[in-house]
Each structure stands twice: as structure tokens, then as C-alpha cells.
Amino acid sequence: MNERAQLLLSIADDELIIGWRDSEWTGIAPTLEEDVAFSSIAQNEIGHARALYELAATELGSDADALAFDRAPEEYRCAQLVELHLLEWAHTIARRYLYEEADRVRLGALKESADSELAGVAAKIDREEVYHRMHAELWAARLRDESRFREAVEELWPYALGVLPQELRPELARRTGLSVDSTQAIERGTHTPELAELWQEMTEVRRSIPGAQW
């Protein structure tokens, strides 16, 4: 697989899996207003994943659904941050906040890419991510005095660093006010057991009747 396809899949997988995790809150978020917001965010992230899978599919002679669902869990290229099962609000918001900040840095770099197709998709995605960032920043500000939130941010910080390549990490540290030097990033390339569990559930219907159209 060429480098471009690898890059596209790693971002698409991040967006798919975080969208999947966000959609776990649909129907059970702390308030009804927040429930609606989380469902919107989940749909946006899945929509971004689809746009990126479509680009990768052209490269790989596949299609977006096959890339999203028909690979084995170990073939996914997502960062461990998005895999974690965190159905608890302080951790959920800590992850959203860190992921959105990392995504902002990543999209900023991609928009400058010489690959005009990729730069175009990144710019389009960034327009929606603006609202996700406002949402995450609002919640981070609301919860900043809660020790459980601050602890969750610290706990997830090594995972957040792993979302980005080495050269973009100092920018993430600058934006969040956290330290890059004293922290061992949890790198992309290996997976948590939570991903395999998620994959089982995500592909259950699709695997039940192989080759069927849904």
C-alpha cells in the first residue's frame, strides 16, 4: 500500500472510530440538548470518514464500505485514543477536546498539502470541525474545575500525542498547554483490546450474511 493510501486510511479510521464512539452517546447523553449535539458530531465524523475512504478506495480499487467494515481489526490504522471505551462524561469530553485539538493541527497541515485533492477534502472537513471545536472548548471550559476532568485529560494526553506524527506534536502541546517532552506518546500501529470488541459489534450484521446488500 502506498504512502498516500496509508495516510488516508489512518485519518479515515480515526474519524470512523471516534464517530462510532460518539454515537454510543445517542439516546443516553447527560441532557437531551447534549444528546442531539453528540449525534450531530457523530454523523459529521462518519461523513468525514466516508469522504476519506472514498479517496482511498480510488487508490486501492475498493469501496468506502468495504474499507470501513471488511478489514480485519489489526488492519485498521487508527490511533488508540479513538478506540478507548469511555462511556463516562469526563473522559468523553477529555477525549473530544484532545482529539479536536489534534485534528485541528493535522487538518492545518493537510490543507497546505501539495496533493490538491487531499487539501480540498481537508478544507471541507475543517469547516465542520470548527463547530466540534467550539463544542469541545465550551465543555472543557465548563469542566475545567472538575478534578475528574483534569485527571482524564492527563490520562489521555499520551494517547492524544499518538494521533499526530512527531513533527506536529509540539504544536498540539502549545495549543493545550501540556508537555510533549516528558510524555511517552502511545504510537499508532498497535491496538487496544477495545478495538476488537468494537469491531465485533460494528460488523456483526454485515458479517451475518456475507456479500448481502443492505
Partner: protein, 300 residues
Amino acid sequence: MSANAAREQEFLEYVQSGGQVESTDWLPADYRQKLIKFIEMHANSELMGVLPEREWILKAPTLQRKLALTAKVQDEVGHAQLIYRVAEDLGKPRDEMFADLLSGKAKFHNVFHYPTKTWGDVGVIAWLVDAAAIISQKALLKCSYAPYARIMKKICWEESFHILHGRDVVLAMMTGTPEQQELVQEAVNRWWGPLMQFHGNPIAREEDPMYLWRIKSQGNEEARQQFLEGYVPQIWELGLTVPDSNLGRGDDGVWVYSEPDWAELKSVVTGHGPRSQERLDFRRRFLEQEKWVRDSLVAA
């Protein structure tokens, strides 16, 4: 006749002649109480109705289906929020409504007490359960309480998309493999009983207090006939069968069917359905787990 009784009689005549009232108008106590009870059950149903479907968001077999189902469930939560707000305006706080839902004091619709076993259920719920629901909701467009009637426009508009989504899920499966067709047929068999109970027992509308106050504008049996007339031909057209050998349309255009199991309906809506307690426990778990978040919002 006392002054108050005369005023109440005047109010009754006004709503019975098609008049609508606003939240700032004087409302008879009995009317307010019935209205809250009705609206609260509707809101509870929207809220509890997301639980049978939300687990399938996580299992949706394509990206498009996942997006569509998330959007549908999001609409339902949005409806719950709109409807709870109408009830809040009438004087019952949201926390109290949640507490009454969890304790079993307030009810929710029968169809949301049953399990969803396969992706076939996902299609059949969105298509037929939402179709049954939209018939009741369209009749609320003429509700005597104007704020409730107004939000029903948006709700009915969105529900009509859910039916299209459901029909599309069903159609994809019915044009698919024999196993997929079987999943749909099994789902229709499972849901038929609860669907026939959905609009309630055939009490004459003049005896229905919700009709008396023109909260509802149609009787239970009228709604059920409308459902049968609209959807049974569509079900047959797709090659599905309905598990009722007595079902048929008479020469007079009235559908005949086997007597629905009213004892089951009563037992289910009073919290004894196959998933009643599990769903309430699930709702309770997250309401309790995330209480600190709501508290922090109030404090801010």
C-alpha cells in the same frame, strides 16, 4: 351552575368547536392535568423509543445506514426535548417527569417495551411503528392546545422521513438474499401484535376524555383503520404476509382483524413487557451516572 363551572363549560364548548388555547390562557384544572398526562406520555415514548434503536446504530451494516439511523434517533431525542418543554410550560419540571418515568408512575408506548432482535426489526420499526405513530401524531395537529399542535408540524415532517428510511431498509432486504427476506418476515410477525395494540382499545371516542377535551381529534379505532388501510396493501405488495388469518378488507372498506390482545397491552404499558425494566434500568443508570454533569450546568 357556579361561576367556575360556567367558565369550564364555556371552555369545553370552545375547544369542541375547534378552538385552540395558548399557555397563557386560563385552563380548567382537569384539562391541564389531562394535557400534562398525555404530553408527558408522548415525550416519554419518544425518549424510551430511542433505546430499542440506538443499539443498532452501532451495528449498522453500511456507512449510509449508520448515518441515516443516527439521524433518525437524533430526531427522536429532539422530539422528546420539544415535547418535554411543552409539558414543562404547563407546570411539570423535567426532573419530576424523569423521576415518574423511572418509578413507573408515568407510562410510555407499548411498542418500546419489546426487544429488537435483528436488523429486520430496525427496518420494520422505522417503517411500520413510525407509520402507526405518525397517524396518532397527525391527529394532534388539530389539538386544542396550540403550543402542542404547533410542534407536531415539525415532528410529523421528520417522522415522514423515518418511514421512508424504514421502507428503504425493508426494500433492500426484500430484494436481497432469502435470509434477509426471512429476517423481515420474522420481524413483521414479531411486531404485528404490538402494532395492532398500539392505537389502544376501541373505546368510543365520545367516551374518551382525551377526545372530550379535543386533545386528540380521532378515536382509537379510526386510527387503527387508517393504519391498516395505508400499510397492509404495502406489506402484501412486498411479498410479506401478516400473521393474522382473519385480516381482510370488507366491501364497506372497513378492515376486519383478530381481536388484539388487550391484556397484553395493559400488562406491557404498566411495566411488565419483555424489556420494560431492562430499558428503565438502562435509562436510570445513565441519568444517575451523569447527574453530576447536569448539576454542574445548573451551578454554572
